[in-house]
Symmetry: C2
C-alpha cells in the first residue's frame, strides 16, 4: 500500500509541528459525513461504482471499440485529466501509436486553439469515430465549441441518425444544457454523481468510461481505491500534515516529482486537485510538477540553489514492472562497465536516493511517497490517497476543498465579451 | 516581430522600477563581447549556422530520412528540449501519428525509466531506425545508458558494420568520451560549438539536426533569430527589466502561459532556460508553465485567488495560421448561436483578453508577449528573444546566466553510489 516517508523533512520542521492527529480526525469526520461540507461523494465512489454500473460502462466501452477506430473525448479540467493520467501511466503516453484492440483516443475541448482541433480532425481522417462529451452543465465554452465542430464532422460522415448512436455523454442527472440535449437526441449517457466535484471525479463514469475504452481494468482501480480508504488513510493524513507544517514555515511551492515519465499527467491531475482545492482566500501551496531525471538537467539547478521556498514530494514505485538490463559492451569506452548487467530500475532507484540527498543538502525538504507499482490497483490507491490528503490539507488551512469560486471570474468576463 | 506589452503590470510596480535602460546596456555589452562572461557563443549562431554547415545538416537529415523510418534522439536537458519544442510547435505534438515523408522521432536518454525505454523499443518494432546521440561529454548517465541499449538493439538488427553508418553524434569538437567513441567508430558527427551552453544550443546542430529530420525549414528559423537580434533586442531588455522589477516587489513565481497547446514544450524549454540561468545563490524567479485555456479550469483557481506571489507572462500569436469556424447549429440548444460562424481564433483572443483582465483584477501582474505567428521564422525569433531576455535578467540579478554549478550535485552523488 501507499507509504509516506518524512525522514527528508526532519531537518526543516520539528516533529511536533506535523499535526498528524488533527489530520486523522479530519479524515474520520470526512468519512463519517461530519465535516459539515458538501462535495464528499467521492468517498463513496469505490463502493457505488462497483457492480451493475461498472458492467454498463464496460458494455458501452465494448460498443465504442466495436463501432469506431477513434474515440474523441471532449472535456476540460476534471472532465479529462484523470482519464488521461490513467491512460498515460497504465498504457503509456504513446497509447495512440501502440498496436492494440482498443480505439485511438484524442482529448479535446480543453482549449480554443484552431491549430489543435484541426490537427485532430486531420488525424481522424477517414476512420470511423465516436464522441464522448463530458460536462456537468454543457455550458462551458471550450467543450461546447469542440462538440459543435466534432458533431458536425460526424454528421457529415455518417448522417444525422447514425451520428446520434455514436455520441455518448456524461453529465448531470437532471439539469443543464447537456442533459436537455442528451434527452432530446437520445444519446447513451451516464450521470456525474451528485456531490462529486470535477477534480474528484476520476473514479466516477467521468474517468472510468475513457479508461475502460483504453482497455484498462477499472475493477482493479476501484479495488485499489477501496483498499486505500482503509489502509492509506493515516498516510494521507501524515502527508497533509507534513506539507502544512512546511507551508507554515514558509515553503510555499511544492514540486511533485516522479522518476517515471509515464506519471507526468498524474502530475497535471495532482496540480488541479491541490491547486484548485487550496488556492483561495490568498492562501495555498503553489503546485508544480517535475519529470525526473529529465528535469534534474533543467529545473534541477533552481531546485539545488535557487530561492529557498521549495518543498519537494517524490512519488516512487517499489517495482518498475518492466525488467531491462544495461547490456554488456566491454571496452566500448562509455564508462558504464561498472553498471553493466544491472537492471535500469536499480539505477533509477539510486538516482532517486542521490537526488533526495543532494536536494536536502541544498536546503529543500523532501517528502517521499511510495506506491507498490504502476498497475491499475496502485493507480486507484494513489488517486484515493491524494484526494484524501488534499481534502485534509485544505481543511487544515481553513479553506473549503470542494469549491472553486475563482474559476468563474474568467468565464464570466469571457462570456460577456462574446455576448453569450 | 516580437512585442512586449507591460500595460498589465502598471498597477503593481511603478514605471521607473522597470530598469529598461540598464537592460539595454547589458544587451549591448553582450553583443559586443564586453559582458566579461564566457558562454555567449549563442549570439553568433544565426550567422555561423547559415551556409555550408546548414547544408551539411540538411544532407544528413536527408540521409536519415532515406535509410530509416524511425529516428531515436538520445539526449537530456538542453540536448533535447529545444528540438522537441520546435517539432511540437511547428509540426504538432502528434507528429509521430501524422502521415509524412520524414521519420518518426522518439526522444530518450532523459530518464532511467525501464517502462519508458522498453515502450520505445516496442514502438520501433521491426522498422529500420537510426540513432542520433547528443551529448557534450558522453559522460552523463541517462543518455549513455540509453545509447548502450539502443546501440545493442541496432547491432542485433543490422550488424556491427551497418550500425556504425546509422549512428550520428553531436558532441564536443575535441574532448570527452563521446568524441573518442565517435572518432574510433567513424560515426557521422557534428560539433557542439564552443562557448554555447546546453540550454542556449537550439540554434546549433544540437537543435537543428532533429528539427531538419522532422522536415522543418531551419533556414527560416535562423532568419527569425537573426532578425530578432536586431529588432527584438529592446523588447527582450524590456521583458527582462519588467520581470526583475516584479521580482524585487516579491513576485517570486512566473507562470508562462500560452493559449496554444502546441506551445507546451516551448514552455519546458523556457523553464530550463530561465530556471537554470537564474536559480543560483539563493535567488531566482521560479519558472512554471500553464497550458491555457485548459489550465484555467484547474490551476486557474490558484491564479485567481491563491497566494499573491505570482506574475504571469502570456505568449500570444497575432495569427493562428489555421482558419476554423464555429459551424451553425440553430436551435441545437448548446447556447453557442451568438458565436456561430465566428473563427476559433477570435474566441481564443477573447479568452486571452478575459483572462488577462480577470487575473489582474485578482492581483496578478500580467506581461504579454506577442509573436507574429506559429511559423519557423517566429520560432527562431522567440528563441533569440527569450535567450537575450534570460541573459539580461540573470545579469540584472547578479548571477551568471551561463553556468549551472548546482546540476552537478546529484550527478556526483549518483556516480559515487553506482561506483562510476
Amino acid at each position: 500500500m501507499i507509504k509516506v516517508d518524512l525522514s527528508g523533512i526532519s531537518g526543516f520542521v520539528p516533529v511536533d509541528a506535523v499535526r498528524f492527529k488533527e489530520g486523522r480526525d479530519i479524515v474520520k469526520n470526512l468519512r463519517e459525513g461530519e465535516a459539515g461540507l458538501e462535495g464528499t461523494g467521492w468517498l463513496r465512489l469505490p463502493e457505488e461504482m462497483s457492480g451493475g454500473l461498472l458492467g454498463s460502462l464496460r458494455d458501452t466501452a465494448s460498443q465504442i471499440s466495436g463501432e469506431s477506430d477513434v474515440l474523441v473525448v471532449i472535456g476540460t479540467g476534471g472532465s479529462y485529466l484523470g482519464a488521461r493520467a490513467a491512460i498515460e501511466l497504465l498504457r503509456s503516453p504513446y497509447y495512440n501509436g501502440m498496436r492494440k484492440s482498443t480505439p485511438d483516443i484524442f482529448f479535446c475541448g480543453n482549449s480554443l486553439s484552431a491549430a489543435h482541433l484541426s490537427r485532430i480532425v486531420a488525424l481522424i481522417g477517414t476512420r470511423p469515430f465516436s464522441i464522448l462529451y463530458i460536462s456537468k452543465s454543457g455550458s462551458t465554452l471550450e467543450p461546447s465549441v469542440a462538440f459543435r465542430i466534432m458533431r458536425a464532422l460526424l454528421v457529415a460522415k455518417v448522417g444525422e441518425q447514425e451520428a446520434k448512436s455514436r455520441i455518448y455523454t456524461i453529465t448531470d442527472a437532471r439539469s443543464g444544457r447537456l442533459r436537455a440535449i442528451t434527452d432530446r437526441e437520445g444519446y447513451i449517457s451516464f450521470e456525474i454523481p451528485a456531490d462529486v466535484g470535477g477534480r474528484y471525479s476520476v473514479l466516477s463514469p467521468v474517468g472510468l468510461l475513457p479508461i475502460l475504452c483504453a482497455g484498462i481494468d477499472a475493477e482493479e482501480i476501484l479495488r485499489g481505491a477501496r483498499d486505500a480508504l482503509g489502509s492509506a488513510a493515516d498516510e494521507a493524513a501524515l502527508y497533509a500534515a507534513a506539507r502544512q507544517a512546511l507551508y507554515q514555515k514558509g515553503y510555499k511551492i511544492e514540486l511533485l516529482a516522479s522518476f517515471e515519465p509515464f506519471f507526468r499527467y498524474m502530475g497535471e491531475w495532482w496540480k488541479q486537485l491541490f491547486g484548485e482545492s487550496e488556492g483561495k482566500c490568498g492562501r495555498g501551496i503553489f503546485p508544480a510538477y517535475a519529470d525526473y531525471t529529465a528535469d534534474l538537467h533543467s529545473l534541477g539547478q533552481y531546485v539545488q540553489e535557487g530561492e529557498r521556498a521549495l518543498m519537494e514530494t517524490f512519488v516512487l514505485f517499489e517495482k518498475s514492472g518492466v525488467q531491462l538490463l544495461v547490456p554488456p559492451a566491454p571496452g566500448f569506452g562509455d564508462g558504464l562497465d561498472p553498471v553493466s548487467g544491472k537492471p535500469l530500475s536499480a539505477l533509477n532507484e539510486a538516482a532517486a536516493e542521490a537526488t533526495k540527498a543532494a536536494h536536502i543538502e541544498g536546503g529543500v525538504p523532501v517528502i517521499a511517497i511510495t506506491a507498490p507499482d504502476m498497475t491499475p490497483y496502485s493507480f486507484g490507491a494513489l488517486v484515493m490517497f491524494f484526494e484524501l490528503a488534499c481534502a485534509v490539507s485544505a481543511i487544515m488551512m481553513q479553506v473549503n476543498p470542494f469549491n472553486q469560486p475563482g474559476v468563474e471570474a474568467y468565464k464570466t468576463t469571457l462570456k460577456a465579451r462574446l455576448g453569450l
